[in-house]
Amino acid sequence: MQELMLAKAKELLQNGTVNRVLGWQAGEFVYDITPAVFESEQDLDAGFVYNEFCGNNLSKYLIKESRKEGKVLAFLKPCDTYSFNQLIKEHRIIRENVYVIGVPCEGKTDGETLKSKGVKGILGAKSEGDELIIDTLYGEQRLSKRDALTARCLTCKSKKHVVYDELLGEEGEEVPENHRFEEVEKLEAMTPDERFAFWRGELSRCIRCNACRNVCPACSCEKCVFDNPASGISQKAAADSFEENMFHIIRAFHVAGRCTDCGECSRVCPQNIPLHLLNRKFIKDIDAFYGEYQAGEDTESRAPLTNFTYDDVEPSIVYKGGKK
């Protein structure tokens, strides 16, 4: 696939269709891939890469890139295309300046996931059939590709692109049986005390690095409420348990109905807080209360929170239960 993409990128650069290419750049290890903009064929040859470690969602970079001169080629994975569509809907990306090529994705892995499976001292990795053969400082290790998948890819909602100008490889299928709300349901089944203890344990680890916010394609405000000193929130101080709750509730709320469930927030969290469980709760509630809605599926529909019907459920459904 990488060769195919490379050839395509070079061709489009050469014939002047695009001026730049947004893709992934190889790092020092096999897994430390950095999003990068390539301006020439030499650049592409020097570092362009696409493999099972290219997990970064590139769509948010297009806000900046589509405002530069000329046209940019963006390689988007299926889940990235949802974010892309959502950003188009919110008028954040200038569509004419982007040439989208959909690339297939079989699920991604990353260094952290491999390490959580007990792999130490990763020097390199190659895929062989269904297995990932990892060369480490302490010998070779084999991991089935399924086991190496990141948590978000295990509950992938769709391998099908919702938008592209051109598609490379075969189009994938939606995954209706994705079980992505299972963890949310598990939490819902707990008692409030258990839930409180669970979230306290998770959120108390937050170091307020703002990585979840900054990576999120839905968090594209010019100035975030948390950057406003007058908002009364200590943006970078995990000063009190209240501040942690406040930050995460508001962060999730601000993307409610716009979150495409790309999972970047949980991926980047240095403390491995399962932030996607907050977003998914909102998605699940929206589905249940206002009908199925997938953000980023189209560029036309109204987001659930900027919409209503006359017979919406009453908030009392939460504290009294059932009454629709």
């Binding site: 949310v184 939490l187 819902e188 409030p192 005390d193 258990e194 839930r195 409180f196 203890a197 669970f198 979230w199 306290r200 409420v225 908002s231 009364g232 000063a239 009190d240 348990s241 209240f242 501040e243 709750n245 406040m246 509730i249 508001i250 999730a252 709320f253 409610a256 907050l278 709760k281 909102f282 509630d285 929206i286 209360f289 206002y290 659930p304 929170l305 900027t306 919409n307 209503f308 019907t309 006359y310 919406d312 459920v313 009453e314 908030p315 009392s316 459904i317 939460v318 504290y319």
Partner: protein, 145 residues
Amino acid sequence: MQDVNQFKPKIVAFCCNWCSYAGADLAGTNRLQYPADVKIIRVPCSCRVNPMFILRAFQRGADGVILCGCHPGDCHYTTGNYYARRRMTLLFSMLDYLGIEKQRTRVEWVSAAEGAKFAATMNEFVAAVTQLGPNKRLEDLRCKN
């Protein structure tokens, strides 16, 4: 004799200017009793209240927060309360998900003519929150003592 240590909850009530605030006013002029610990904050419309208002009220010492607005369909701005309804439903559900007692938050639609409903709602809400005890799960320790 009344127990001096008895817990008296602090309640913040966001009331929309056009209906509920007038409803509260009516409750007052009709000499209807409701606890003095209900602090009313007047807002132009129920949809002026964003989730941060609710959370901030808890941070600053509220034990319960209630939002009152015009009945759906009666909004002075036509549709404001419909948006507020969705917003609060999702927020309350999230608070419950985080293990925060769901009885501490509430939305009621109170018209300008419903002074009695206002007083009754407040009495009922205060009673419910009194039973829960002080807010511990959404408090800011720095604001205590």
